[in-house]
């Protein structure tokens, strides 16, 4: 900063300069405030829970593009020894898990193929595939995290085993609970991540209902709200599939 020494008689000149600077500050404050007002008055996106201003949704989508570009399939989520896994695994939601699920025998996973046909897959057919275990720090968007231990089949392996190679060329996988209430959409790259599994075990035991029996998604490269419990159906699309939390103002990508 300059320190200027001026004679008394030039003070008015500097007083004028000071005024100009002050007015500039006020002007910029005004512009900033107007911008803020504008943002606050924009139509809301995802209005089911109050929603977020539409320009911010655009911002989140820009972040998504950026971080999708930076994403690397080789970056694995840190794994822990089984002894570190929580025994009291947190249950944080029951949405979409109504009582329509009776037993493993009555349940089947419905997969819609690219040609419109449906595959109905029973649990034993999935359990027959190579089991993969993941013990990782499960991260909830609320801000908590917990080390938990899951067992199931890699999504990539599942797709291969049921000859869904063509389907895995789509941009997204969509999933929903049997009652279709809870839905998630996942970009194919993250779905094919080596630690993304269709889980049927937790802590070495068969899944219980509260944790998404008989089959749930575990996707460690995303926040927990993408790890859908009790999968009823799977489909593939190039547009973004329906997503329960995205229409409630949350980020669609949710990549970690």
């Amino acid at each position: 900063m300059k320190k200027i020494t001026i004679p008394e008689n030039e003070l008015p000149k500097y007083s004028r300069r000071t005024w100009i600077a002050m007015i500039q500050l006020a002007l910029f404050s005004g512009i900033g405030y107007a911008g803020w007002r504008w943002l606050r008055k924009q139509p809301l996106d995802g209005g089911l829970l109050g929603g977020i201003p539409a320009p911010l949704r655009k911002g989140l989508e820009t972040n998504e593009d950026l971080f999708t570009r930076y994403y690397d399939q080789g970056r694995l989520v840190k794994e822990y020894p089984k002894s570190k896994a929580a025994t009291d695994v947190r249950i944080n939601g029951k949405i979409g898990q109504d009582n329509s699920f009776v037993s493993e025998d009555s349940w089947s996973l419905s997969v819609q193929k690219a040609n419109g046909d449906f595959l109905e897959i029973k649990l034993p057919e999935i359990k027959r595939l190579t089991k993969t275990e993941v013990i990782f720090n499960f991260k909830c968007i609320e801000g908590w995290s917990q080390i938990s231990w899951w067992g199931g089949v890699r999504m990539s392996e599942f797709l291969k085993a049921f000859s869904l190679e063509k389907e895995s060329m789509f941009k997204y996988i969509g999933m929903s609970t049997p009652d279709t209430e809870y839905t998630v959409g996942i970009d194919m790259l993250s779905a094919l991540h080596p630690q993304t599994i269709l889980a049927y075990e937790m802590n070495g035991q068969p899944l219980v209902l509260e944790h998404g029996a008989p089959l749930r998604l575990i996707i460690p490269v995303k926040y927990g709200y993408k790890s859908l419990k009790q999968i009823g159906s799977i489909y593939f699309s190039n547009g973004k599939p329906a997503d329960y939390w995205a229409v409630r103002g949350y980020d669609y990508y949710a990549g970690l």
Binding site: P7, A21, I52, L56, L76, E142, G143
Partner: protein, 208 residues
């Protein structure tokens, strides 16, 4: 750049608290005695915080770019203009800052000689820049803990990074109050200098 920081940081802190609310686990305690709980319910209610996690994230992850950009421009400007010479602490600053604090508390009458900023200011203003870099890095460590796992590990893990990010923010708020108090105390001429960029002294023609 300085003035842009104020609204931006306000938005970042506000949206950050919206996010933090969803899992508000931090508190200061000695033994079993909780001294400070972050945050009490009356504070959430006062600022209309509860149940706005998604909104908080949307604002936080858009305005973070502006905050970073502003910081970057500031650093580039400070380096290129040579202003860093007035800003970075000198070897003597650490000892002198103690005298400045004693002066501020009214314990001594004479400030050590200084240029644009005194020793305590040099330390405080430099520290705040490093704190904002810390916020950026710990923020990224929580935001993308898989893609930037090395950074998350550097922060001591995911949970640790979240706590560091939080307490850096508490640091800003404390800084802000001291800063505001000092500006008010320094008076009009100083405030004018903060806006115009120059400080005025009057003198008679012949005293030059």
């Amino acid at each position: 750049m300085h003035w842009i920081n104020f609204p931006l940081l306000t938005i970042m802190i506000w949206s950050g608290v919206l996010i933090y609310w969803a899992n508000d686990v931090y508190e200061l305690r000695i033994g079993d005695v909780v001294i400070l709980n972050f945050f009490p319910d009356w504070m959430y209610d006062l600022f209309n915080i509860p149940y706005k996690l998604s909104k908080g994230m949307a604002y936080h992850f858009v305005f973070m770019w502006l905050f970073m950009l502003n910081g970057l421009i500031y650093i580039i400007y400070t380096v290129l203009s040579g202003e860093w010479r007035y800003l970075l602490p000198q070897r003597k600053s650490f000892a002198e800052s103690w005298q400045v604090i004693r002066y501020d508390l009214g314990l001594i009458k004479q400030l050590p000689p200084q240029s644009k900023y005194n020793a305590a200011q040099r330390i405080a203003y430099s520290m705040i820049i490093f704190m904002s870099m810390g916020s950026m890095l710990t923020g990224l460590a929580i935001y993308k803990p898989v893609q930037f796992q090395w950074l998350t590990n550097l922060c001591g893990g995911y949970e640790a990074a979240r706590a560091e990010h939080f307490f850096l923010t508490i640091g800003y708020v404390l800084f802000f109050f001291v800063h505001l108090f000092q500006v008010i105390r320094a008076g009009w001429n100083n405030f004018r200098a903060m806006v115009t960029g120059y400080e005025i002294e009057t003198s008679n023609e012949d005293s030059k």
